[in-house]
Amino acid sequence: MTALIVADGLTVRYGQQAPILWQTDLTIATNEIVALVGPSGCGKSTLLNAIAGFIPYEGTLTMAGDAIKGPASQRGVVFQNSSLYPWYDVAQNIGFGLRAAQQAPAVVQARVTQLLQLIDLEGQAHKKVFALSGGMRQRVAIARALAPRPPLLLLDEPFGALDAFTRQKMQQLMLSIWRQEQVSLLLITHDLNEALFCGSRIAVMTSTSRQLIATLANPYQGRTEPELSGVQLQQREQFQQRLLTLINQ
């Protein structure tokens, strides 16, 4: 396992204020999913935005050995507040990255159609984005980030507005993409179950830590409750409790 993203002594502050992140370290290996959990306002989005190249930082932050200097196509991002382009319809939004990479129109269309199906929005290709429901918007944002097949996906609570069922489908979609393609993910979530289902490792922050306080290997990745024996379920429950305690300490 080679390290794709390396953050070493990463410090991030907004303007002249006290730093939000202080000397934190993080490694994301190739083809792993790091689920990042922590209480609201602790700095999860800030960390993700720094990796995305959206905000300046101090310290070391590299992707495949190169310092991160700004947004780039290797790092697909889904914002916490989806920023779809209102002047494009659903299909045009999803195809944006492919058009940017100058793919042939037929290729773009094929991929868009495929993605529309994956996110359960077949037949909505030509809807305006402001005529979408909150959950639909989130799914379009995910599809837009997935479309150009970036080696790293940064997802900031991508399923926050989805009902349980759709959410599960999307989680499974993520995992299957991750299994099929050589892709790494950083997934911010406030749902521990989601973290346990998706994460290869689980990174934890607390309100006051300004750093990752722990990164735990997760033995339950991809395993739904029915798959687990009673003992395993209990162990999982304990693991989850441990995480909760860590987060809120």
């Binding site: 995305a52 190249g53 790092r75 697909g76 991002v77 920023s83 944006f96 058009r99 940017a100 402001f130």
Partner: protein, 254 residues
């Protein structure tokens, strides 16, 4: 008819009535304030026989040609330059202070220089109108970019869009509402520079007609010219707004 339309119509009817009454009762001098009928009569006469030996349509045509070529030129140049200046500090450093400097200078003050450099033909007139139209569009471009949510640009770069692509696919549409306001202002401003532009060495054009009439105190022609210019402006603005509604369907949703 919508309520708004009804009110608008009422306003204009009241104004027309007021105009009629004021002139009927000779509340103001007729020399400088002709009655509506007289303006109408003048219009019919000019429509049929032209003004100064030139048919009405030619006056209108030449004015519109000057206006449209100037505005088109302004749109074509000010939109990319304004957006680029909003995006890039280098471009901003290069052009912004120049635009901000020439912008407040009255056209009448530098018209002399234009005549010296470009002669008394069409080019100096069109350039004058062009310069008047350029500034509001440029400014709207810069502000359109600056007011745009930064996330749009960030996500475009994350999706691998090049600078040019970001320009065309994100900045341009994102600034479009602002640009439209700018273009509408520019149309107004270049219209209102029309008289200045057609004042020198002209023998045709609605603006010239107004100036010429005013020199000889043909107030009904003056009024006619004013009404035509105002009406044209109104019409153009209405067309622009229709276009805007079509183009910027996401207005107020952003």
């Amino acid at each position: 008819m919508s309520k708004k339309r009804k009110i608008t119509l009422a306003v204009w009817l009241v104004l027309l009535l007021l105009w009629e009454v004021v002139t009927r009762l000779h509340l103001v001098s007729g020399i400088l304030f002709p009655a509506p009928e007289e303006v109408l009569r003048t219009f019919v006469a000019i429509w049929q026989h032209g003004y100064n030996g030139i048919p009405f349509w030619q006056h209108l045509g030449i004015t519109l040609w000057r206006l449209f070529s100037a505005i088109l030129l302004a749109i074509v140049t000010a939109v990319p330059l304004g957006l680029a200046s909003g995006m890039s500090d280098t471009v901003n450093g290069l052009v912004d202070s120049l635009v901000q400097f020439y912008r407040p200078i009255p056209p009448l003050a530098y018209y002399t220089l234009l005549i010296l450099w470009f002669g008394i033909g069409e080019s100096s007139k069109i350039i004058l109108l062009y310069l008047a139209a350029f500034a509001p569009i440029y400014l709207a471009g810069v502000e359109g970019v600056r007011n745009l949510n930064q996330d749009y640009q960030l996500s475009a770069r994350s999706l691998g869009a090049s600078k040019g692509q970001i320009f065309r696919w994100v900045i341009f549409p994102g600034a479009l509402p602002s640009l439209f306001t700018g273009i509408r202002t520019a149309v107004g401003v270049s219209f209102s520079t029309l008289v200045a532009a057609e004042m020198v060495a002209s023998t045709s054009g609605i603006g010239w007609m107004v100036i010429d009439a005013s020199k000889y105190l043909k107030s009904s022609v003056m009024f006619l010219g004013i009404l035509i210019l105002g009406g044209l402006g109104l019409l153009l603005d209405w067309l622009l707004r229709r276009l805007e509604r079509r183009l910027i369907f996401w207005k107020g949703q952003l």
